[in-house]
């Protein structure tokens, strides 16, 4: 049963109640107090209030969980993977997004993503959060305050550019990074979010020209960040000494903690995307967990065969790859489909990272493309394959959802959605990199790169081991 059924059931109950009560009063013995219209209205109101409280509690927790994914989750995951002279520089890139994107989101980002606009981008109606109050916006989430929806979506807007930082680790100026990713969040993220989730968006599952299924951001978050990551790595060039100089991760322990925090936070990311605390949230929660577990296994098997040992980094990278791949599918598929999606993602993403990266020789330093770009694209396509109306009748009651219901054309819709995400990411990122490179300059100097971002960009060190 989907959350929708519950949703439809409530109004029916509310409408049925007065009829039922009136019938009782007319036939009941005299002396029983007749239910007045006022009492009925009060009852309806308290039902609505109870539902809003329940959904709002879960959505606020989910918003906090998604922020947990960026800091400390991603900051630790990426921070451990770089050399120790770059840990603060790397963590600061994620943290900067927590600050900068929040401010931009309040000013204009939310409006560009979720305001009424055209098929491509939202309008300016919600600039400076005008009209975004504590009553629900029925276009998006009818049972939570719009401010809850706004802040929940903000957490997605924060983590998406932060994911890109993995591709250009250890070599970009802090100033250039801040400007590039701020502009990116407005010119790539907001339009993509609008196209997929916004009212009137091109790819919106409810009424878009190309109805594409993206439950929690496979295209909006992972394809955009992963593909932009690849473009940035190619534009910026390799780190000094790559690939001849050894650049192993300096702390697998930090990465391990970070990856586990990502896993936990992802429950807010995916199950929260139900936008209520009904059964659909449960479905997404379980799919999220199952895919992560299966992908950790898939990556580990691949690596064990390939290199002879099951590494900790392989296991945690696999889990993240599974979480990425299940993101668009999490509210549409059965639990065993989630296991399968995770397993495929574990194999596919490890292959991308081990073989394809080596084949082309690009320096996607922390594998933002290999995990998020590749896993996100795979997940978008597999969503079309495994989505079923038994979990979520996304196109209306009784209508086939994905290929599991016989609607094979959905795979084409998914491919179109992924293709558009690839396109806007490549074009938007190239333009922004070009402009920022001309105005500020993207890369640190050779000397600064040798010294590390901690000292050269921030004037401090991550580890002072003197007492």
């Amino acid at each position: 049963m989907s959350g929708r059924c519950f949703r439809y059931f409530l109004p029916v109950l509310c409408c049925a109640l007065p009829t039922l009560t009136l019938a009782q009063t007319s036939s009941a013995a005299a002396g029983q107090a007749p239910a007045t219209q006022a009492q009925i209205a009060a009852l309806q109101q308290s039902i609505q209030n109870a539902q809003m409280s329940a959904d709002n509690a879960w959505m606020l927790v989910s918003a906090a969980l998604v922020l947990l994914m960026t800091g400390p989750g991603l900051a630790l995951f990426y921070g451990g993977l770089v050399r120790k002279k770059n840990i603060l520089g790397t963590m600061m890139q994620s943290f900067a997004m927590m600050g900068l994107v929040t401010i931009l989101w309040a000013i204009v980002g939310y409006s560009l993503a979720f305001g009424h606009g055209n098929f491509f981008i939202g309008g300016f109606e919600h600039v400076f959060l005008r009209g975004v109050g504590l009553t629900p916006n029925t276009d998006y989430a009818p049972t939570i305050p719009e401010q809850t929806y706004m802040v929940y979506q903000l957490m997605f807007a924060i983590i998406t550019p932060a994911l890109i930082t993995g591709a250009f680790a250890e070599r970009m100026k802090f100033s250039a990074m801040a400007v590039f990713l701020s502009l990116w969040s407005l010119l790539v993220y907001s339009p993509m979010a609008h196209m997929v989730w916004g009212v009137g968006g091109l790819l919106n599952a409810n009424g878009g020209h190309i109805p594409s299924l993206d439950f929690a951001g496979g295209t909006v978050v992972h394809i955009t960040s992963g593909v932009s990551a690849l473009v940035t790595a190619l534009y910026l060039g390799k780190r000094l000494g790559y690939p001849h100089t050894a650049m192993p991760p300096h702390s697998m322990v930090l990465s391990f903690i970070g990856a586990c925090l990502l896993w936990v936070g992802w429950f807010g990311f995916n199950a929260g995307s139900a936008l209520n605390s009904g059964p659909l949230a449960t479905s997404a929660f379980i799919n999220t967990h199952f895919a992560a577990a299966a992908a950790a296994l898939g990556w580990t098997i691949f690596e064990w065969k390939h290199n002879g040992k099951p590494t900790a980094l392989g296991a945690i990278s696999g889990a993240v790859a599974g979480l990425v791949a299940i993101t668009p599918a999490s509210g549409y598929v059965q639990p065993f489909a989630a296991l399968l999606i995770g397993l495929i993602a574990g194999f596919f993403c490890s292959f991308m990272v081990f073989k394809v990266k080596a084949m082309f020789g690009y320096d996607d330093s922390l594998d933002a493309f290999g995990v998020h770009g590749a896993g996100g694209t795979l997940g978008a396509l597999l969503t079309g394959l495994f989505a079923t109306k038994a979990i979520n009748a996304a196109f209306g009651a009784g209508m086939a959802t994905g290929a599991m219901d016989g609607h094979w054309g959905q795979i084409l819709n998914q491919a179109a959605g992924a293709g558009i995400a690839w396109g806007i990411s490549i074009v938007g990122t190239l333009v922004l990199l070009f402009v920022v490179d001309k105005v500020i300059g993207l890369r640190v100097s050779h000397e600064e790169e040798m010294a590390g971002l901690d000292l050269s960009q921030h004037g401090e060190e991550g580890y002072d081991l003197n007492p």
Binding site: P243, A246, P248, P249, E303, H306, N307, K309, T311, L313, G314, S317, S350, V353, F354, K355, A358, D367
Partner: protein, 112 residues
Amino acid sequence: MLKIEAILQPSKLDAVKDALLEAGIEGMTILEARGHGRQKGHTEFYRGREYTVDLLPKVKIELVLHDELKEKAIQAITSAARTGRIGDGKIFISKIDEAIRIRNDERGDSAL
């Protein structure tokens, strides 16, 4: 007077320390070191990339002692530190011209 410098597997430090104490040798300086001899390090894998780590963690102990303790010290170190595998380490011995105790200016053997 002699100086003995021994480079050991870190895991053998406690055994060597105990063996030296048992042989009546008191006082030593211990340094954490990295290096390699003919043992050429090991390989690590991170996301499919192979890294050769050729400088391995070692412990170096330094002792300065009377000439007649030489064989006892060598015996204590080798028997405690030997595993029979490559990478067990080495002992170097050199002459020391002078020793001075900073506290009271004692010199020579009595300063040890």
